[in-house]
């Protein structure tokens, strides 16, 4: 189905910068509300720092709860950027164009949010300084470089740095457009950020090469980040269900599943909020949903491997853990919720073409996926720790406190708020990419039918 409409270059500039130069009342109400939730989160975190971790539901033997679950969740969301932007750029998928910026921006903000989680979880975040400046080697107060917990910050920082660079390189032509349409201080800032961009052939060539090179470089980083996060669990021998060889790819594909779903949700919100119907079209939703079917099914395969091979050896503690996850309340409800919302509802719905082109249903199903994926991380982390093990003198459940719930809620508000605020300073659909898509679009007449086509230059 041909949904593309021809739009002039100047109209593209006007349309895609509308989020910067025009603001509706609704936008500010939404930002204000989200800021309020974030403020509540900061207050709760401050309260926790003041009173100690006792105000959370964390207690022996469950010392990893909502914060670590949320850390893994946001790291997962961050995988959307590279998956959509780098991979689809490398394979020259035309339908990537309106999705890349939102995906990259979501990567940066979700990574930043993810990184706050271990700091908050530490209870006394200033002690992270000991990692950089260990003050007493003799007492062993220094990071153990052989631990995956230490590799984590390195990987995440590298990913954040490269993601910011990735976003920035793609933004340079758009900064130039904004430079030419602003005055005063914004003009000065955009002038600096646009690095003297004039849109010459050489500059475009360099920008494209840089984008491709960064895409190729960032891919191994993207894989390493969630792999290392998975090894936080996989290398732990003392917790049943964590020591699994499949964890690394299982975490990565799960991250892509939740990340791409989040991008779809964000795209639908942007389309609705900024009236970008001519840019974020139903055909893009259709393609993204098809991609999600493949990703979700691959994820389900890895989940099945993880679960099945947990039982494979029929070792008592492992079987008991699986029974806890699947048959005992409340875990069985979480398990059921996770499975139904992350696969059993969305994927059969995406198989129906009309659903793939229905924005409401796409928003609904992609939000469902992320509800399920959050629960997935939760039931991986907490039940394993709850299980009675040798030499553990206390055991029990985990109930998150209101402090944890408030902080977690605030992280969702923070990412949403940051994306919305970012939309006030840069276009969330790459202007250059949108124009290139228009130029490369063509049609071929076959019989009596005009078939959409794309120009492809090697």
């Amino acid at each position: 189905m041909q949904e593309r409409v021809r739009i002039s270059d100047s109209q593209v500039n006007t349309d895609l910068t509308s989020s910067i130069f025009e603001s509706s009342k609704l936008y500010w109400i939404l930002v204000g509300f989200l800021a309020l939730v974030v403020l509540c989160g900061f207050t709760a975190a401050g309260y926790m720092f003041n009173r100690g971790l006792g105000v959370t539901g964390l207690n022996r033997p469950v010392m990893w709860g909502f914060f670590i679950t949320n850390f893994v969740f946001w790291i997962g969301i961050s995988h959307a950027g590279v998956m959509l932007s780098a991979i689809l750029r490398l394979v020259q998928a035309e339908w990537r164009r309106p999705a890349t910026r939102a995906a990259e921006v979501l990567t940066v903000f979700s990574l930043m949010t993810a990184m706050t989680m271990p700091l908050i979880h530490a209870g006394r975040p200033w002690r992270v300084a000991y990692w950089v400046f260990p003050y007493d080697w003799a007492r062993g107060i220094y990071p153990n470089v052989r631990s995956a917990l230490v590799w984590d910050p390195s990987a995440v920082f590298t990913y954040l740095t490269s993601s910011i660079l990735f976003v920035y390189i793609a933004l340079i032509p758009d900064f130039a457009v904004l430079r030419d349409r602003t005055t005063g201080v914004p003009h000065i800032i955009y002038s600096i950020l646009s690095l003297g961009w004039r849109g010459s052939v050489r500059q475009w060539k360099l920008q494209i090469i840089a984008g491709i090179l960064l895409s190729a470089i960032i891919l191994p980083i993207f894989v390493s980040v969630h792999s290392i996060v998975s090894w936080d669990f996989g290398t732990a021998m003392s917790v049943e269900a964590w020591h699994s060889t499949v964890f690394a790819p299982y975490f990565v594909i799960g991250a892509v599943h939740s990340g791409v779903s989040a991008v779809v949700t964000v795209m639908i919100i942007l389309r609705w909020m900024f009236h970008w119907e001519d840019y974020i079209r139903r055909e893009h939703m259709d393609s993204l949903a098809k991609l999600l079917i493949v990703v979700a099914t691959a994820w389900l395969f890895f989940f099945a491997l993880e679960f099945f091979f947990g039982l494979y050896a029929l070792e008592g503690p492992e079987v008991a853990l699986r029974e806890l996850q699947v048959f005992e309340a409340p875990w069985k409800w979480y398990f059921l919720t996770f499975l139904i919302t992350s696969y059993l509802i969305p994927v059969p719905m995406w198989l129906i073409p009309s659903v793939r082109r229905n924005l409401w249903l796409m928003a609904f199903t992609t939000i469902l996926v992320n509800v399920g994926m959050w629960f997935e991380r939760f039931i991986i982390i907490v039940p394993g720790l709850m299980r009675k093990q040798a030499f553990v003198f206390t055991w029990g459940g985990y109930t998150p406190s209101i402090v944890e719930v408030t902080i977690i809620t605030a992280t969702f508000a923070m990412v949403s708020m940051l994306v919305l605020l970012f939309a006030k300073v840069v276009p969330l659909i790459p202007i250059g990419d949108a124009k290139e898509g228009m130029i490369l679009h063509d049609e071929i007449k076959i019989g009596k039918v005009m078939v959409p086509a794309v120009m492809r230059e090697e």
Partner: protein, 458 residues
């Protein structure tokens, strides 16, 4: 290559549909003396393999270690042939235009699936009962894997043949019409029903191929899991590796792409099919091959790292057995030839964008994959007591004897011969897909340059 254009445009764009039909069918009907000479040699080697197989059977099925190399050859043939069909299925779903000349080359391996199924049958007598040992089938009756593995592989083979049949149907009809044979002449392609290329027929063919492709993909992953676990992992005490089935599948995908590249190279040089099998096909496949090489390493690393870091006796025993002590040389060969060498070849852009570069890398991968199968299947069949939970004493390395050489050479020769004989029934180049490509591709002027336009119909 289309020398007159700056872009990579297939040479067949200069031909008419009728010229393509005549050209492909002419080559199909006159394979040349060299074809039959090679077929005779392969037939001779196959007979040698059969003699080896009879000698194995004469020695009985109790000495499992004697069957190790036969099992490795089966694993190799199964992995390559059955997974090769997936390449065509996946590329057709992705609507890649460059797939057209290689689609049939890939699908034709479905015929070799019948041969791999025949190879499975003697192994069923060697495979020990699952009673008292770890298995995928837990507490099911002892001969469960024998029944289900046979049924699963059989279903996969039938599905593969169905894909080949439905994908070849238009070409078989074309062949019949060009040859001027009547409908009553059943000696000529008796498989052809009443196909005359009505729109309804094409729609039906598209739907059937789509459904069969989806089913084939799911079945293939399941069969990889069943074969790899039942015939390798479950036979080695202490080996509980959730990623292994996925690793086996990714190695199969990697090797099958390599196999298609090598087949294309042979067809290009020996059957003068250079105007269809051009640089574009090699280049496109080499990118996927590079990705699979990296995935090979990533999956291997995920498994190795989790085991090595954990230091559990059972897992270290497995590492010593199949990687670092007993089968260390075989592992080193597999690692070097499946990852190191092909990666170094394919990572260089200018080498990847040649015909010889990907072919060289693919040839190395094909050898490396065989070593990889040896370290799993031979190692698995060499363990005497499968009921143990830990490899307390590492079994000795099973060196190949004369019978093993006969079985390996004969087994692989038989597979190649089966493929060659298949080309006598089905044209090796998919005529209808090439002709469809003629309709959906154009070369147009764009800013003083010739550029390729690709139609993307729904």
């Amino acid at each position: 290559m289309h020398e007159s254009h700056h872009v990579v445009a297939p040479s067949y764009l200069d031909m008419t549909a009728q010229e393509i039909t005549n050209d492909v069918l002419k080559r199909h009907h006159s394979p040349g003396n060299q074809f039959w000479t090679i077929a005779m040699i392969l037939g001779g080697l196959f007979v040698v393999g059969l003699v080896g197989l009879f000698m194995l059977i004469a020695d009985g099925f109790d000495n499992k270690s004697a069957w190790g190399y036969y099992a490795a050859t089966f694993g190799y043939v199964f992995s390559l042939s059955q997974t090769a069909v997936l390449v065509s299925v996946a590329l057709r779903m992705a609507k890649s235009h460059w797939r057209r000349p290689l689609a049939r080359i890939s699908e034709m391996f479905a015929i070799v699936g019948v041969y791999s199924f025949a190879m499975l049958l003697p192994l069923l007598w060697v495979l020990p009962s699952i009673e008292g040992r770890r298995s995928l089938w837990f507490e099911w009756p002892g001969n469960t894997p024998h029944i289900w593995d046979t049924m699963a592989l059989g279903s996969l083979v039938i599905c593969g043949l169905a894909i080949l049949y439905f994908a070849s149907l238009p070409d078989l009809v074309t062949d019949k019409e060009v040859s001027g044979k009547s409908d009553e002449d059943v000696s000529y392609h008796p498989l052809i029903p009443h196909w005359f290329g009505a729109p309804k027929h094409w729609q039906l063919q598209k739907i059937v191929l789509g459904l069969l492709g989806g089913f084939y993909f799911l079945m293939l992953i399941i069969v990889h899991m069943l074969i790899s676990v039942d015939f390798a992992m479950a036979l080695i005490p202490g080996w509980k590796d959730a990623i292994f089935p996925a690793f086996h599948a990714i190695n199969g995908i990697q090797a099958s792409i390599a196999l298609i590249i090598v087949t294309m190279f042979i067809l290009r040089s020996r059957s003068s099919l250079g105007k269809y099998l051009e640089l574009e096909q090699f280049w496109a496949l080499s990118k996927i091959l590079l990705a699979t090489c990296l995935l090979w390493f990533y999956f291997w690393w995920s498994s190795f790292f989790t085991y090595w870091y954990g230091r559990m006796p059972a897992e270290i025993g497995v590492l010593k057995y199949i990687m670092f002590e007993t089968y260390s040389t075989v592992f080193l060969l597999a690692f070097t030839m499946c990852f190191v060498i092909p990666f170094l070849i394919l990572v260089v852009n200018v080498v990847r964008k040649t015909i010889w570069g990907p072919t060289l890398a693919a040839s190395v991968i094909l050898i490396g994959t065989f070593f990889n199968q040896v370290r799993y299947y031979v190692a698995g069949f060499s363990v005497e007591d499968h009921t143990l939970h830990v490899l307390e004493n590492l079994p000795d390395f099973t060196a190949p004897g004369p019978i093993d050489f006969m079985v390996v050479v004969g087994g692989i020769s038989g597979a190649v011969l089966t493929y060659m004989l298949g080309t006598r029934i089905f044209p090796i180049i998919s005529i209808w897909e090439i002709k469809e490509g003629l309709m959906l591709q154009r070369v147009r002027k764009f800013m003083k340059r010739d550029i390729r336009v690709l139609a993307k119909p729904e």
